[in-house]
């Protein structure tokens, strides 16, 4: 059996999918996020990048989860800025951070380069990301560094989370790093003297869906899961799960 899970071609066969229609992002935001995610985790000799892994749809879906609404963060004022080691002190939820920062970043790129971020050549995109990482840009009140860390974190989540959430398509992220997913039984493999684990990954089965990885919608189509995965009720934010 191959170490990378190639032994399961049928279940892993690419399915021709319709273009993803974002639910939270407007198309320009999705294009920016997908372009930035691809530079953070690009396709290369190791395997597919963020775009092919479905990171854009993953992040769009996550913005409907309680996390997207900062439902479990302490969000009471006053909001006072402080040194970075005292942590996040902005009044915005992830949904608001993406909205503010994407718009401001595209306006910045239009002003400086004449095109929006997604249309810049990769090396110019890298130059902009380098500025963000260094904290040299402010995006409508959102420090560039905060936005960079947000997108970096979400990109890696989307590449390596269970495919349940729309990213890590065909478990390709897991196959790249040799992670067996939900196998969760190594009774006979505690110590094999440095041999690679021989089996490919398995994912958490999507409830009631055989082929049902409708990216981004899985979060609300799974009544079996406990409330922290159900769609956040934006009209009643007090009903925090």
């Amino acid at each position: 059996m191959a170490a990378d899970g190639q032994s399961m071609p049928n279940s892993l066969a690419p399915v021709k999918a319709a273009p993803y229609v974002p639910r939270y992002f407007i198309p320009a935001e999705l294009a920016l996020v997908e372009a930035m995610a691809e530079r953070i985790f690009p396709e290369n000799a190791d395997g597919p990048g963020a775009k092919q892994l479905g990171v854009g749809p993953f992040i769009d879906g996550q913005l409907f989860s309680p996390w997207g609404f900062a439902a479990r963060w302490y969000m009471k004022g006053p909001f006072v800025s402080g040194p970075p080691q005292l942590g996040y002190q902005l009044p915005w939820t992830p949904r608001q951070l993406y909205r503010l920062a994407c718009g401001a970043l595209d306006r910045h790129c239009l002003a400086q380069e004449g095109v929006v971020f997604a249309r810049l050549p990769p090396e110019r995109q890298d130059a902009v990301i380098t500025l963000l990482e260094a904290g040299a840009l402010m995006l409508d009140g959102v420090p560039g560094k905060v936005f960079f860390e947000l997108v970096r974190g979400n990109t890696l989540e989307g590449a390596f989370a269970d495919p349940l959430y729309g990213g890590n398509r065909h478990m390709a992220g897991w196959k790249m790093c040799g992670f067996p997913g939900a196998r969760a039984d190594f009774m006979l493999w505690v110590n094999q003297n440095g041999a690679p684990y021989p089996f490919g990954p398995v994912a958490i089965p999507p409830y009631q869906h055989v082929h049902g990885l409708h990216e981004g919608t899985m979060v609300i189509d799974m009544p079996v899961l406990t409330s922290d995965l159900e769609e956040y009720d934006a009209d009643n934010p007090g009903n925090t799960p």
Partner: protein, 600 residues
């Protein structure tokens, strides 16, 4: 729901479950109030939905919801403390089992000198060796006194491990620095993953003394004396941050609470957030107070409730216990300027830094395999096991490979840095290779108590119920930074003996401030410490409040300084120790169990 009970217990983690079981067994009516939700392993912990990294460790399913209440944090007394708005450096638990549900399972006893560190340092190096403004203290209880209670905890948890000596006789290849035991571990040691076995080889080649970490992850099927059953650990790697679907990792949820379900005179309420302990003047006089009732918010009905209590046990997370004492007026709050008061004093943490060792590309470390408490450690640089004289610091660290199951989101997010790219094609390649071929190694060490590190109430931010948040003033101090740097300086040699092709040593930097955004450990301690002198401890040696004798405060809040080991073994032993003295002594004659005249 009864309106009154003999004892009301706040919190349902290890401390609360042990106290509930022991006091109910003694015939008391017991009410337990837990702020978080009910968590049943068969439902919430079931395979496969429980082993979802995004949901568990990334979105923090089992950890405290900070929306209604958090703490504020600052590094120095002159800064404005700011709210800990997102979980980062530490991850308090919530819900049935508390931190005892999502812990990893490292289950240590304390070293005898951990419990009498002040005396041990003075005996060896003299009083002058203790830096000015370090509040170095003894616990007021000795290892020999606690030994039966360490046993009791290990046999309830089903601990796996290997002894060095039992009743003075060599019993196995355990930790030669470990104190003598009256009984062997209930279960044999866990097997060692490849990474840990390599560390054992490397550490032994350097002349150190490797031993298997004692773990509350069952190496065999086990039934404890309460009839609760554990299954053997299969090294699934979903341990720290997860609610073990295999029933292998000990938790209050599977080791203790099942023994109380359906029992008469036992009530457990979840979504019950305790706001305050009501006090009155004690009829005994002497300036003592008496707890009369507990006020709490019922999250199920959205109403305020009050439960009358003959005794109150605070058994929440360390921060919660200290906060409730401050909100209720139990004990005198600490004032660092005048150096008076005890509640909030000796707040401590632990030093922990992680290093990484890369092996050859044909060596696959399969880091996703592991048991939470599994691994191999050395104690050669822990506690008082080495000569501190020429080094000029107090404290120490075990070094270990505790591969408890590294999942890819955590691995990839943490990859890069230290001069390497954190994004892009090279980052991706290095992160993938690092995941396949490297080993993590930690120096998990002590943290001493200082006059300018403490807990009090914040002047600005409030919780959902209008109460002030607790404020933490904390940063790393020179003594602990030098300790960490000394211990980690030995890691390259061990790594070389393991056959490393590259090593990246993690250590605290001189002057480095505490950073709340990076996970370190959830082993917060102190703030309401035990001791023999009411001027320097909030609790006597039985964990009874000096000022309010019908309140006992159980948890790592009682540790006067942060030790090198993980706290749970000592928390559990102290809970059994306290419960033993409540049942055999206090209940027969409720009173302060120690005279205030006893002084250090």
């Amino acid at each position: 729901m009864p309106r009154k009970a003999d004892v009301v217990i706040v919190g349902s983690g290890w401390a609360g479950s042990i106290m509930a079981h022991q006091l109910h067994r003694a015939g008391l009516s017991v009410v337990v109030l837990e702020r978080g939700p009910m968590r049943k392993t068969a439902i919430d912990g079931a395979y496969p939905y429980s082993i979802d990294e995004l949901r568990a460790n990334v979105r923090k399913r089992l950890f405290e919801n900070l929306a209604p209440q958090t703490v504020t944090i600052r590094n120095t007394p002159h800064q404005q403390a700011l709210p800990y708005r997102q979980l980062g450096a530490f991850l308090p638990g919530t819900g049935l089992g508390g931190g005892g549900l999502h812990w990893a399972g490292c289950m240590f006893r304390a070293m005898p000198d951990d419990l009498r560190l002040r005396s041990a340092i003075i005996e060896r190096y003299g009083r002058k060796f203790i830096p000015k403004d370090m509040n170095l203290q003894d616990y007021g209880v000795t290892y020999d006194e606690l030994e039966p209670f360490f046993n009791q905890a290990e046999y309830v948890f089903g601990a796996s491990g290997e002894a060095w000596t039992v009743r003075g006789k060599r019993a196995g290849n355990g930790d030669p620095f470990a104190p003598d035991r009256s009984k062997p571990f209930p279960l044999p040691p866990l097997r060692e993953v490849y990474s840990a076995a390599l560390f054992r080889k490397g550490a032994a080649a350097c002349g150190y003394h490797p031993y298997v970490i004692p773990a509350a992850n069952a190496s065999r099927p086990y039934t404890n004396s309460y009839g609760c059953q554990l299954g053997p650990c299969n090294f699934c790697g979903y341990c720290s941050g997860y609610d073990c679907f295999l029933y292998s990792k000990a938790s209050p949820n599977i080791c203790i609470w099942p023994a109380l379900w359906g029992k008469k005179n036992f009530t457990l309420r979840t979504d019950a957030h305790v706001l305050k302990v009501d006090l009155a003047r004690s009829p005994a006089g002497q300036g003592l107070k008496e707890a009369k009732a507990v006020e709490w918010y019922d999250g199920e009905t959205g109403t305020h409730q009050r439960t009358e209590a003959g005794m109150v046990i605070l058994a929440g997370f360390q921060l919660s216990n200290v906060h409730l004492m401050l909100l209720s007026g139990i004990g005198q709050p600490y004032d660092p300027v005048r150096n008076t008061g005890v509640v909030g004093r000796n707040f401590v943490y632990q030093t922990i830094t992680s290093s990484r060792v890369w092996l050859r590309p044909d060596q696959h470390t399969n880091q996703f395999i592991g048991a939470g408490g599994g691994g191999v450690a050395i104690d050669d640089f822990n506690c008082t096991n080495f000569d501190h004289g020429p080094l000029g610091f107090i404290g120490g660290s075990p070094i270990w490979v505790n591969q408890s199951g590294l999942k890819p989101i955590e691995a990839m997010t943490g990859a890069g840095g230290h001069g390497q790219p954190r994004w892009g094609s090279d980052f991706k390649h290095q992160a993938l290779e690092t995941y396949r071929h490297s080993i993590g190694m930690d120096a998990h060490g002590s943290n001493m108590a200082y006059r300018d590190v403490w807990l009090d109430l914040d002047p600005t931010w409030k919780n959902d119920w209008g109460q002030p948040l607790m404020r933490m003033t904390f940063t790393w101090h020179d003594n602990d930074i030098r300790m960490n740097r000394f211990v980690t300086s030995h890691i390259p040699r061990i790594a070389e003996a393991m056959g490393a092709v590259r090593v990246e040593v993690g250590s605290l930097k001189p002057g480095e401030p505490f950073d709340v955004t990076q996970y370190k450990t959830t082993h917060l301690a102190g703030g309401a410490v035990m001791g023999t002198d009411p001027r320097t401890s909030a609790l006597n040696r039985y964990l009874q409040c000096w000022d309010v004798p019908n309140v006992f405060v159980v948890g790592s809040n009682a540790f006067p300084q942060g030790m090198g080991y993980n706290p749970t073994g000592l928390v559990a032993a102290l809970a059994y120790w306290s419960a033993h003295h409540i049942v055999t002594d206090y209940l027969k004659n409720p009173r302060p169990l120690c005279g205030r005249g006893v002084s250090s």
